[in-house]
């Protein structure tokens, strides 16, 4: 899966999105990266949101939080806890 955006991405995000997502023994490479991204986000806030939306096809960010990195991070981390990706 390749996608392009003008919102700056961290290098790791570009690497994840450049991975060809092919079914292989039921494994989805994109989905496997979600806990990694969320753990990184919990340690150091950054522009992970575009990648998470692309991988998950979900958007837990409240509209009033758009653009506010800390609030968007909290919304995604709560999403991750609710779905069991992180503790």
């Amino acid at each position: 899966m390749k996608a392009y955006t003008t919102v700056p991405k961290a290098p790791i995000v570009e690497a994840i999105l450049d991975i060809q997502v092919e079914p292989a023994e039921g494994m989805n490479i994109g989905a496997a990266s979600i806990p990694l991204i969320l753990r990184e986000m919990s340690i150091k806030q950054g522009q992970w949101f575009w990648a998470l939306k692309s991988i998950t096809n979900e958007d837990p960010v409240k509209p009033e939080h758009r653009g506010i990195v800390a609030e968007m991070s909290r919304d995604w981390l709560q999403w991750g806890k609710d779905r069991g990706y992180i503790d």
Binding site: T5, T6, Q45, G46, D59, G67, V69
Partner: protein
């Protein structure tokens, strides 16, 4: 990087150049189609100069002709690339210099809008002022 500049803040991922030019340092402004950044609800979410003009007009900015400092006015400039797509914005300080936020990195203060040259900001290297749009708003 401009040749005459100074760093005026620590690195911060909390805001970008478009927000900083609008006087905001607590969120990213950009009309991305993924809705990950803030964009005024009443403005089309499109990466066009017209949309940026409309967004900044909500802050009271109107077009102007010169980047020269004028007492009582605050000026901003939006840079566009060769396709007319906005790429950066800067704001004039009350000292007559210009302040820019560089992505996830620091704010810098520079002498003139065309101190930022190169393919990312849409200003040709020979210093010719092209592909920038100026606005001002009255202060006070």
């Amino acid at each position: 990087m401009p040749s005459n500049y100074r760093i005026t803040s620590p690195e911060s991922p909390d805001y970008n150049c478009i927000a900083w030019a609008a006087g905001t340092d607590d969120r990213w402004w950009w009309p991305d189609n993924q809705y990950t950044a803030y964009w005024p609800a009443e403005v089309p979410r499109e990466e066009t100069l017209a949309a940026f003009i409309q967004a900044y007009s909500l802050k009271g900015y109107v077009p102007c002709d010169t980047s020269d400092y004028e007492n009582g006015f605050e000026k901003i400039v939006v840079y566009t690339n060769e396709h007319g797509k906005p790429t950066h914005a800067a704001r004039q300080t009350q000292a007559g210099r210009w302040t820019s936020k560089l992505g996830n990195w620091e704010d810098i203060e520079h002498d003139r809008p065309d101190n930022l040259a190169g393919r990312h900001y849409g200003v040709v290297v020979d210093g010719r002022e092209v592909d920038k749009v100026l606005w001002n708003r009255r202060l006070g």
